[in-house]
Assembly symmetry: C2
Homo-oligomer: 137 residues x 2
DNA sequence: CTAAACTCTATCGGTTTAATAGAATTTGTA
DNA sequence: TACAAATTCTATTAAACCGATAGAGTTTAG
């Protein structure tokens, strides 16, 4: 499941993607437009900035704007940024790999192989969902 | 991600699937064999029993055994039993559907459609992973 | 200088999770 | 019938996580 943070992040990106080119959106604008608690959204936007999906302008008349093409922002990336691994267990993860503590012999995890199959398919599907593809709908 | 419960459940089922037909496994046996805390495993086995995956014999010389074919127990079912929805948001879930509280108009959720695509693909993949397929590896 | 915005850090209450504890019940057998 | 060995049930715990809020600090335009 997606955390609220990830869900809100997607909605915020969607909102930004729908604005005119070069428009800068204030946090309060996005919060109202996408129905997200403002103070919570502030944190999320900072995370998105650190992740290089958006950038910001400070001070009066500042705000946020996309710096990555809406065709290139995928559900997989946003899920990873906010919720971590896409795989069902750390031992099957590409970006958040950790060995199982309860598997007797290393790489002798009975689940790993099957879970890697799932990960590959899920990942592929999630990479096919972009902000642009969601806007169109 | 899978919870520890779901992971342990899969490992316990795997252990049971590897035993001789008609063999009854004591909890302590499974716990040692699959490296699972015994008292925690007790609860998990009860859940698996309520889910009709295993059955038990009480009293001395009692224990647990599979009552569902290892070809018919899928990762999807175990995941649902212990962790709930497979979809990324409740509004995209088949078995745990709930409307989004923060979507202005009902069925106007901008994410729902995309997430249902993901759900379908992930579900299909997870239904392809059975206990039998994991044992073979 | 001031207003309006982003930035940063801390905190809070609630829920969930992983695990443990212990008493109750059931059953086979000596 | 008593006992031992097993499941069953309910409660509790400690820690982590989550969603959200608060407030002080910094930056910028005018």
């Amino acid at each position: 499941m997606l955390s609220h943070k990830a869900k809100y992040a997607l909605k915020a990106l969607l909102y930004l993607a729908e604005q005119d080119e070069n428009h800068i959106s204030k946090t309060i604008e996005i919060a109202d437009g996408a129905n997200i608690p403002k103070k919570f959204l502030e944190q999320i936007l900072l995370d998105l900035k650190r992740g290089r999906f958006v950038s910001s302008k400070q001070g009066k008349f500042g705000g946020y704007y996309l710096i990555k093409s809406k065709n290139e922002i995928t559900l997989a990336e946003i899920h990873r940024l906010f919720d971590g691994a896409i795989a069902l267990l750390p031992c099957a993860s590409l970006n958040f790999y950790e060995p199982c503590s309860d598997c007797k012999t290393e790489s002798e995890c009975s689940l790993r192989h099957g879970l890697m199959l799932i990960r590959d398919k899920t990942l592929k599907a999630m990479e096919g969902i972009t902000i642009a593809s969601l806007v169109k709908k």
